[in-house]
């Protein structure tokens, strides 16, 4: 059932929310990300453009994703990421692995990671690296019926 033989503890598919926050109307980066994740065997929920932090958090709850991928091209990452992380925490989804892609300059990466974003995949990052990172780091969870 699972394609992930390296992690026998997870007999489930990795679910990823790919969200495009902010006001710029370009979702090419998000779509490239979504396609790479699908080809890696992940189930990708794509929510489209102009997502507010609350919309992202609510989709992360309902879809019960393991990973939230944020794609940003506008350069507004330092303004957009903090409210998203707050919204995820407010709905109890700070357990999700949050990664970011897009045009994020190197010097901003420490500040972004400080927010709890696990990795930043800049324009030069090969997508298989992002895939490998998610496979390695996607959280596992325990529940009681």
């Amino acid at each position: 059932m699972t394609a992930d033989v390296s992690r026998p503890d997870r007999a489930r598919r990795i679910r990823v929310l790919v969200a495009k926050p902010g006001l710029d109307g370009h979702d090419r980066g998000a779509k490239v990300m979504a396609r790479a994740f699908r080809d890696a065997g992940f189930e990708v929920i794509y929510t489209g453009l102009f997502q507010t932090p609350e919309m992202i958090a609510s989709a992360a709850v309902q879809e019960d994703v393991d990973v939230v991928g944020l794609s940003i091209l506008s350069g507004a990452h330092l303004a957009l990421f903090p409210p998203i992380m707050t919204a995820l925490r407010d709905v109890g989804r700070h357990d999700a692995l949050v990664v970011a892609g897009g045009t994020i300059p190197k010097e901003d990466i420490p500040a972004v990671e400080e927010l709890g974003i696990a990795a930043v995949f800049g324009p030069g990052t090969p997508l298989h690296e992002a895939v490998a990172f998610i496979r390695e780091r996607a959280p596992t969870r325990e529940d009681v019926p």
């Binding site: 489930r12 990708v44 794509y46 489209g48 997502q51 709850v61």
Partner: protein, 311 residues
């Protein structure tokens, strides 16, 4: 607190987590369903099916709006096919429903078809039970229909909306035999397009030629335009009427029996396949060996297998 108790308590996070367990077909999901199942049976399950790009998600978005206007809590399960090669999937139906993402009384869940390969997942109905127990009514299931899959959803839903769209070649000629009959409500989307009227007329004609086995229900042919926000009220009304007709005519009981039978049979079949794939020395695989060796017909093997089961 247990997952099922939290679901009954209205905890959306717990509900979403439970849906993951149900999708993964794991024991925790089954155990939680044992506890939740007595709380189901209240929701009306509506299937929305039709070809890709027909406007199903857009229609569902308008249905959500109409149900919210009457203060119903509504859940949507949107199923899209998994890639048979990688097992991955892109689930994009939420794009058409973003305005409800922060409404606490709307719950939208995307599902990949997984092993099932077609328009439905093996666990879609079980997912709808959890949403039912959580108090959502109606529960709408959107599936892509490309031939046989429409029939699959019609076997599980109480009301099936078959969506057809103008401009797909020579209109209803492209409908496969038997597909039209599964629609309790026939909807022509994108009615703002010029060919919509002709498609609707063709559907009425075709429906009259093939009345199917529907006893007293005459499926209406309705036109909707999401861009003009037209025709949605009539669809909601038709769902209400169909729901009332199901209850009044006794058809509801018949459908519930059929759904239960379909679900048990599907489960047994899936379990048999899993056991056969397990390649162990179970009774099933012993019988398989005999059938391959040609000393037992598949018919007799099935008889013997069923004979091993307690009744």
């Amino acid at each position: 607190m247990s997952l099922s108790a939290r679901v009954l308590d209205g905890d959306r996070r717990a509900l979403a987590r439970l849906l993951t367990h149900i999708e993964n077909d794991d024991e925790l999901g089954h155990a939680a369903l044992d506890l939740l199942y007595p709380h189901t049976g209240r929701a009306h399950l509506v299937g929305v099916t039709g070809p890709p790009g027909a406007g199903k998600s857009t229609l569902v978005n308008e249905l959500i709006r109409a149900y919210r206007e009457r203060r119903s809590n509504i859940a949507v399960v949107a199923v899209d096919p998994s890639s048979p090669l990688t097992g991955g999937a892109t689930l994009g139906d939420r794009i058409r429903m973003t305005e409800w993402h922060v409404d606490p009384d709307v719950f939208i869940r995307s599902m990949a078809s997984r092993r099932h390969g077609g328009g439905l997942a093996e666990t879609t109905l079980a997912v709808s039970y959890a949403l039912d127990a959580a108090g959502f009514d109606p529960v709408i299931v959107e599936t892509v229909g490309t031939g046989q899959d429409e029939v699959a959803i019609a076997d599980l839903a109480l009301t099936t909306i078959l969506v057809q769209v103008p401009g797909l070649g020579d209109s209803v000629q492209t409908l496969k035999a038997g597909v039209l009959e599964i629609g309790d409500i026939l909807v022509v989307t994108k009615a703002d397009r010029p060919e919509a009227g002709e498609l609707a007329r063709d559907l009425v004609r075709l429906k009259t030629l093939n009345p199917g086995q529907r006893p007293a229900w005459d499926p209406p042919v309705l036109k909707t335009s999401a861009t003009r926000r037209e025709g949605i009220g009539a669809v909601i009304e038709a769902i209400d009427q169909h729901r009332a007709w199901l209850a009044d005519s006794g058809e509801l009981d018949r459908r519930r029996r059929r759904i239960a039978t379909t679900e048990i049979a599907a489960r047994v079949q899936a379990e048999l396949r899993r056991r056969a794939d397990a390649d162990d020395d179970s009774c099933l695989n012993t019988l398989v060996e005999h059938v391959i060796a040609r000393d037992l017909t598949p018919y007799r093997a099935a008889e013997r297998f069923l004979g091993t089961l307690p009744v």
